[in-house]
Symmetry: C2
Subunit: 482 residues, 2 copies
């Protein structure tokens, strides 16, 4: 085993001068995440250009007993790609592995390296008349490798599924430095255990994903969008049922927002306005899509809204009449996260419950939060069609930031306890990373955690692959952290 | 450790008199598969009625060092649910676990026990105005547990995915007799390693699936079906592209058949006739579906066929004009497997290649097969939209059955070698079971097999859970078989 001090020079052998950063000034952007929420130190940042170089880096670090922290676009929300502050870990950035290795519109697949930015995949698909449907706020900078490592979600899940569902094959460098070539572009393959699903969503703790074969779909050629005002979350759930019954699987988006969420956007984002005259407690943005260019979606959407009015489900609605208005309505949805930052600390929670439990869940959670911090401003919004709410919290108006930060953990417990009581998940689409790795132990079955630890031990017996992430500390001891 | 002779009485304690069969006459139907292709012997057949009873059976057998063979509807094609002929294994049938535990049309999920027959799931969904889209020939007798264990496919995969894609949560009894409750009905859940995908497709070698939460979809309310004659597999691939471009994801079925396949059905099935006057080398059955009741699918399909004629892709076509004609066309497709049995031994191969490779793959494989056995009758058909062909073989007309059976292994090698040369899979939707467990070693990456063995060892260190299936024998020794 080499001394840790030798590691940079050994890594230089593995990736060459172009792939190694050891100057602290140059390492900076790899050692702080985009929100400045997480930061760390590193012995080096390596940027391999090929899968073989990734394997060489992993072997070098394993031989030296040094931990590796894989990193994509550095846009995660749970600190999953940040090193610790020991300065002894090595950050393995995939940002030089940006090749679209091939696209096959007949097979409806694209093969990409882990460092390809999500938007580049969407564009490569569009250039062939196809759709790659994963879509999220950070699509201009997040990478396929990160999308895979966190099983990313976003607004397209309702119709197309999570990243996991969009993946046919993977190439992975395992913690022993060997390369598993599972880059199969097959729709059906039943020849043993499905390994790819182990690495998807494992946040780099079982190996480094270096490439993937992803599914493509027929391009969507027409859309219709409506902004609907509703009296309650129950009405939103009822509206999903109405739209499903009348429009079937043309339903491609269904996003809910509380009035509080919309108020923040109206206050802090330039160029937006309330699409409706009166104030309503809840809104949904409904989107239909069709692969036909002239699919009569506007009429379908209006028929669904008609039914919703008749049944007293909807209070008011606007159907967007052109692409400018569509952008304006989506702006209200997409502006929430940023607008909330103007109102003090944003305590973010990303949870799922069964769609049918949403009304009772929101009522119970809101009540408990108001009891814990009277006047708290609850910024609830998200992909309600998937049962996924971003249950974000802002301090009572005019109160102290630090007082609010001081109760962050208590409020998270309120949200998670409520989620758990409805058989929900405390991380819908952001993963566990470092921020939720310990709290998960209180919400996940102990036997399931034991099975997860067994898998970690099997694939990474030395505990050198992204330690300190996903798996809870045992007995409060950071066993795997180095 | 108890003597094996005591096992039946211990099992009686676990499942009661009603759940235990030891009389050889009564065990018969559990010890021979539906085709009479595989048979075995058993110390007992146990039929637990609850998950807790399944766990008690597994613990009892583990303590006694006796192997357990989980069994669903006994309709598999690779012998995956058959015991060996030692008479020492215990068959664990899930056929008494037939409860639909709950259906939630708002959440679009159904929770079912492993012994529920696939058709009963389809019917439970339909009663709520929903669709459960898995559809296969044996749906009247195969069970959800078997569908999960083999990651079943069928004709709906093109639009809805394999069984794996239709599953949100699982309940599993592991080889140590503990119950993992992963019965979550969530569309998004990113809280650690995804365990369910390990058990799906593992053919009962990592544990016994006892229940599942499955996805539902909006019901399909209109369909259009066409029978299209084509000059070549390339034309079939071109036709997929045309239909996708014009009909988008309304395309729900795309099945190819060689003329040889159709000839066998016309010769041996009552009440079918050739829908077209002339003879053509290839046919596809195209199906469009829509969730709207009056969706104009007939016009769309005709427009796609028009384009196919103009581009010389299609030679002739019939659009079905009513449900009787739809049934007649599907009868030609569904009758192939049975009709082939009248022509001597059927050597069956279930393979996938990328859709774009189908034309070259068929040409290369047919040439090699004709070279190996001149005059061989090649019954190629299947789900070409997924790249999945059933490459079945019948002897040359008038030749000897045994001569043909004698070259079965050689011919399988021809098909598999060709499949492998196009980066395909030698088992698309039937699994490995016992029939393909050894041959897979020649087609799967050795490292991948090593990782599979590691997982088997982790979950089932005693090798008592469905031994002799999926994993290749090591060095020709049936290490795990008891």
């Amino acid at each position: 085993m080499s001394a840790v001090a030798d590691v940079p020079s050994l890594l230089r052998d593995a990736v060459g001068e172009a792939g190694l950063i050891t100057d602290p000034a140059d390492m900076g952007r790899y050692l702080t995440d985009w929100r400045n929420a997480y930061s760390g130190r590193a012995a080096a940042v390596v940027r391999p250009g090929t899968t073989e170089e990734v394997a060489a880096v992993v072997r070098t670090c394993r031989d030296a007993g040094v931990a590796v922290v894989p990193q994509g676009g550095n846009t995660g929300l749970c600190g999953g790609s940040m090193p610790d502050d020991s300065g002894r870990q090595v950050v393995l950035s995939l940002d030089r592995m940006r090749r679209v290795r091939g696209i096959d519109p007949v097979n409806q697949t694209v093969t990409v390296e882990a460092g390809v930015v999500l938007q580049a995949v969407q564009e490569a698909a569009a250039a062939e008349g196809c759709l790659f449907p994963l879509s999220l706020g950070s699509e201009g900078s997040c990478t396929v490798g990160g999308n895979l490592a966190t099983n990313a979600g976003g607004t397209g899940v309702l119709r197309y599924g999570n990243m996991r569902d969009l993946t046919l094959g993977l190439e992975v460098v395992l913690p022993d430095g060997r390369i598993w070539n599972g880059l199969r572009g097959l729709r059906k393959d039943n020849t043993g255990y499905d390994l790819k699903h182990l690495f998807i969503g494992a946040e780099g703790t079982l190996g480094v994903i270096t490439a993937a074969v992803l599914k493509l779909f027929p391009a969507v050629r027409s859309r219709a969008t409506a902004w609907v005002a509703l009296p309650s979350p129950q009405a939103a759930v009822d509206l999903i049922g109405i739209v499903r019954a009348l429009c079937g699987d043309r339903l491609t988006g269904f996003e809910i927002m509380s009035r509080q969420s919309v108020d923040f956007v109206l206050a802090h984002r330039a160029g937006v306005r309330d699409p409706l005259d009166a104030v309503h407690p809840w809104y949904v943005l409904v989107e239909l899509g069709d692969t036909l260019p002239d699919a009569g979606l506007g009429g379908l959407l209006e028929a669904a809204l008609e039914e919703a009015f008749e049944r007293d489900v909807a209070a008011d609605a606007v159907v967007a009449s052109g692409s400018a208005q569509v952008a304006e309505l989506w702006g209200l949805r997409e502006g929430i996260s940023e607008a909330q930052n103007f109102e003090g600390p944003s305590l973010k929670h990303d949870v799922t419950v069964p769609v049918s439990s949403i009304p009772a869940f929101v009522e119970q959670t809101d009540r408990a939060l108001q009891k814990a911090v009277p006047g708290i401003r609850i910024v609830t919004y998200g992909h309600i069609g998937d049962g996924n709410l971003h249950y974000n919290l802002s301090k009572p108006a005019g109160s102290d930031d630090d007082d609010f930060r001081a109760v962050a953990e208590e409020l998270a417990r309120v949200v998670y306890d409520s989620t758990s009581s409805f058989d929900g998940s405390i991380s819908a689409e952001h993963g566990l990373g470092q921020s939720k790795r310990d709290v998960i132990a209180d919400y996940k079955d102990a036997y399931e955690l034991e099975l997860m630890r067994g898998l970690k031990q099997l694939f990474d017996p030395d505990g050198l692959m992204n330690p300190g992430k996903v798996l809870p500390r045992e007995d409060g001891v950071a066993r795997a952290e180095r």
